[in-house]
């Protein structure tokens, strides 16, 4: 016999169990050093000349760290926003629509940011 509790056990509103919780924590830990670096990069580069910014982002170490930050942040953003959607939206159709849009948005942000970094560091 499958009781209601048995059916949902370990799955929750997203039907994916604790996977998202874990990914949220994993990316949160990765984000700590990466975001510190990211904040520092923003503070030192904002408002600087085009030549300075492209030269800095052209450094392989800077570009790599920035790419790592973009990857970790966008993965984390995606899970985080999905949790918010699941908390407040109870209509199944709307919830799925928003979860899909959330994935498109975060992947879009990640890919375009990565593309822009590549373009700068390859000097295109």
């Amino acid at each position: 016999m499958r009781t209601p509790l048995n059916r949902v056990r370990g799955l929750g509103p997203a039907h994916s169990g604790t996977g998202h919780f874990w990914l949220q924590r994993l990316t949160a830990i990765a984000n700590i050093p990466l975001v510190i670096y990211f904040v520092f990069l923003i503070a030192t580069l904002a408002g600087r000349s085009h030549a300075t910014v492209t030269a800095t982002l052209g450094e392989p170490v800077v570009a790599l760290l920035l790419l790592a930050a973009i990857l970790s942040i966008t993965m984390h953003m995606r899970v985080g926003m999905q949790v918010i959607i699941e908390d407040y939206i109870h209509d199944e159709g709307l919830k799925i629509t928003l979860v899909v849009l959330n994935t498109f948005f975060t992947v879009g942000v990640g890919l375009s940011a990565a593309f822009a970094v590549f373009r700068i560091s390859l000097g295109l």
């Binding site: 984000n31 503070a43 940011a113």
Partner: protein, 132 residues
């Protein structure tokens, strides 16, 4: 859909409006609001990165950053990142079941608020010193 036929009749907990706002509550809400703001704020960062593709676009964006409003957004964005980071670290501490006692919770909540403002100011001071 699962029907709950055996609903237990028990008193409902008080609604949010009649709770006294505490610092832990406030910081919990702020963590979510700031996380959402960062979510959309990342678009500004992508815009800036794309503008770096050519000098003319970049000069335009720099002009915008130079205004008081641009500076405010910039400072706010870095504060939001650091505040959410400290709030997140607080969550990670809680995940180890530490820091949940009365007193400790309040201390951690104040630490995220005061710490984030202090860190943001320090980051900008250091950044300005490195520029000149």
């Amino acid at each position: 859909m699962i029907e709950h036929k055996t609903r237990v009749e028990r008193p409902l907990s008080p609604h949010l409006q009649i709770y006294r706002l505490t610092i832990t509550m406030a910081m919990s809400i702020v963590h979510r609001i700031v996380g959402s703001a960062l979510y959309f704020g990342m678009l500004l960062f992508v815009w800036w990165l794309f503008a770096a593709g050519n000098a003319r676009d970049f000069d335009r964006i720099n002009g915008w950053i130079g205004t008081w409003f641009g500076q405010l957004i910039l400072f706010g964005f870095t504060w939001a990142l650091l505040h959410h980071m400290l709030g997140g670290i607080r969550h990670l501490i809680w995940d180890t079941t530490r820091g949940l006692e009365p007193g400790e919770r309040e201390m951690l909540a104040w630490a995220t608020l005061i710490g984030s403002v202090t860190l943001t100011v320090i980051v900008w001071i250091v950044a300005f010193m490195m520029r000149s």
